[in-house]
Assembly symmetry: D2
Homo-oligomer: 260 residues x 4
């Protein structure tokens, strides 16, 4: 079975910065999609500028794992599309947040926290350490790998305690950061991965590419999407699994929907 991924790119810096345009001539989303494409993974792209940001209901229904890169235009993402993506994650779609997507609406929506951090653009050295040996997302990687030039993100990182911490970064300037974190929200697996600043060739790094392919396999939930993922069905007394007699007052009549 081939995992169907969509790489969502904000596609703004590519139009406004010569450095970024030169580095990623097919867009960052294009470079990322090309790098994860493989025997078991098909990758297409979607961007902010497309109708519905390229994330129609139909498209998401046919997406197993969504990768998200954004930075300059988080505020331009339509709230209705954010809710749509959240609902698909709850129902089982995988989601991988890249770098500055820590401030994407969809990440903050799913985490329930500010998702903030400290930062510095000095092109310094970052060294990622694997903290969960042989975790599926770390398969095939050495115990550590380096990116010679990256933006720094520093702790405290304003996210909930993760299910698992897979990578922690060391920065030349003296900071550390939890760079690979797993979460589950509903039936959807979520992975945040730190590196990927737009002015550095991070997405051409083979270790980074390996992480992304691993993460796609990990995030993929092959079960059918959960239907009506936010339904709250009433179980009438006469249909209870064990015999029951109705007792006491109740605000709802039989068959009435619950209050929200």
């Amino acid at each position: 079975m081939v995992i169907r991924t969509v790489v969502w790119g904000e596609n703004v810096h590519e139009q406004t910065s010569q450095v970024v345009a030169d580095l990623y001539p097919d867009g960052m989303h294009g470079a990322i999609a090309a790098s994860v494409q493989s025997a078991g993974i098909s990758a297409t792209t979607a961007t902010l500028q497309e109708p519905e940001h390229g994330l129609s209901e139909d498209r998401l229904t046919q997406t197993d794992v969504l990768l998200w890169w954004g930075h300059a235009a988080h505020g331009d993402v339509d709230d209705a599309i954010v809710e749509r993506v959240a609902r698909h994650v709850h129902a089982g779609m995988g989601l991988i947040l890249l770098h500055s997507a820590h401030f994407a609406k969809i990440f903050k929506r799913l985490m329930g926290t500010p998702c903030n951090l400290t930062w510095r653009e000095a092109g310094e050295r970052e060294r990622l350490w694997v903290t969960s040996r042989n975790h599926p997302i770390a398969v095939g990687l050495p115990d550590h790998f380096e990116l010679e030039n990256e933006e720094m993100y520093g702790e405290p990182f304003g996210v909930p305690e993760p299910l698992e911490t897979v990578f922690i970064s060391w920065f030349q300037g003296g900071e550390v950061f939890r760079s690979g974190l797993t979460y589950k929200r509903g039936a959807g697996n979520i992975f945040y991965f730190r590196p990927g600043h737009e002015t550095y060739p991070t997405y051409y790094d083979t270790n980074v590419q390996q992480v992304l392919r691993n993460a796609i396999h990990w995030a993929h939930n092959p079960a059918p999407r959960v239907l009506d993922v936010d339904a709250a069905p009433n179980v009438p007394t006469h249909q209870a699994l064990e015999p029951l007699t109705q007792k006491g007052a109740r605000p709802h009549k039989d068959g009435e929907a619950g209050l929200r």
Copy 2:
């Protein structure tokens, strides 16, 4: 030190249902506040109908732990107030969600999930089992206790995996439910506690009252509220903790705010 709590009550059923009005003549919020008041806990109330729902910035600043009961009017809670409460939780205020508050905006906001479940109003027996021995929230309780008449809530409960599962309920009609769950969001401790349907005398039960007092002590974070809890400060290269030389292009100028 006395822990300052506010019991927030929606205060709707009390006005519209004779059963609820008779059961809780001072309102559910009034009954809850009276039951937790003790040597170490002071309790006041706030309701939906007050200006700013009784939750002004000043009030929240002076609140250590907020308890929340709502059911019929979740949709009437002002989104701006929800954000204000979320921000205080992130900064360190404790939050205790009661029963039907599983669908409160503030709970869904902080969990990032649908928070749905199955339900039945049959006045059936509920038996809560302690699953985390001597957890601070279970102190002084037996291994299990019963509520002879309660609404049923059933799994699957659409919440993230908790930090800890403190109680699990058995229902006469055949369901189970994770009835006591802990979370942390930012510096704020969050506890969800299941029982408390408006038509039953649950808040007069001494075990339930013990849980609430325990939970208030557990949720209380005595550290000063975190200032600027969603700030994302830049650390300029020349102020790095270790000596650094600026390398490569960067989208931001010195001192510029980050993108959101």
Copy 3:
């Protein structure tokens, strides 16, 4: 790739109880192995009575996932074999503990806790509820399923907080139990699954069989086993990743092994 499993059975009740012998003529291990055998899973068996309990170093090296059923003879399992199995789990072998294996030496060894519970043999009804929707271990299952006759296990269950709670059981006699729990110890995935008392036909139940097959797929870590999984290598100062000057006294000479 076919997942290589070994079903370890204590094989004592089968020899001493006519009820068990009649119910499981090929042994419980035999019945379990037959039920999980499938296109993607090969299953062999091992028993307490074999040399090295059937778990030689060679055998474990070629085992992807080990399933463990024991009850009457936990104390007869050789401590050296327990350590060997623990080491393979740390290095990446999956482990699935069945029912009364909650008291198996290997489970207590890996959990670090008493792993105790309450129990009753009344042949009562058990109903398992899925608490983690579309979790890989719950794939293809309804929201709940029943076993008409089972032993009861009740909370509090003396285990560490799990990574995820996948199933919770309702018992006719009034108890609840966390019946499906996931853990990771080193590179090894661990799943505890409650049902499976020797005097009932639990392992012929199709839902139970589905859980076991799902759990095998989930527990399988395809990465190569970690070598020297408990090594604590010294990194000499002159080989540090960043330039370092030796400072201060040190108990160890260059190249000396650390203290244990």
Copy 4:
């Protein structure tokens, strides 16, 4: 209420190394005990060389939180004492593991994993970052603090995923380490804290002392110790909470103890 702590010291380097003897003339345990002593904390010491290593049943019964420092003589600690300490932790005693105690028998016993890491004695700079804002163990600390000379410990750290990661260390030589981790085993709170090499004045650092005092308050479980913490009581059918009829065969007679 004053929290009664015991600081357990191996007390070997103090006798064999002039550097350590000069640095800690009252022993490392003596220095640690002196530093945590305060209005709310009483501290005594115990050492390997005392009868029962100073940890008699009576002593542990009257200990709220035990701190443990060991390095050169882990193997000399009596297995029976390790089990005794483990049992007290399960029953509710707090436990704080210091530095090289990552390889103490009691830590490996409670974690179920190798607890290994990489290491270097170069007297390099360590900088600890708070990753859980306003966590009770981080109260009163800045976002980061430095130890100018410390031993390096590097990831991967062979421990289970913690409940919470409170500190992460940055090392001058290029490594990172999860330096403050919380666990719960039974009713006992456990905290591992990394710094504290015997040849450096770490325990005189005021931030380190603050962490230890915070950790003692956090680890303290004021509930009475759980009695019979590994009991597995039978609940006879006729005493079930809900009416039950005995069905099917059962290996045990009424009142018989379970199998272990």
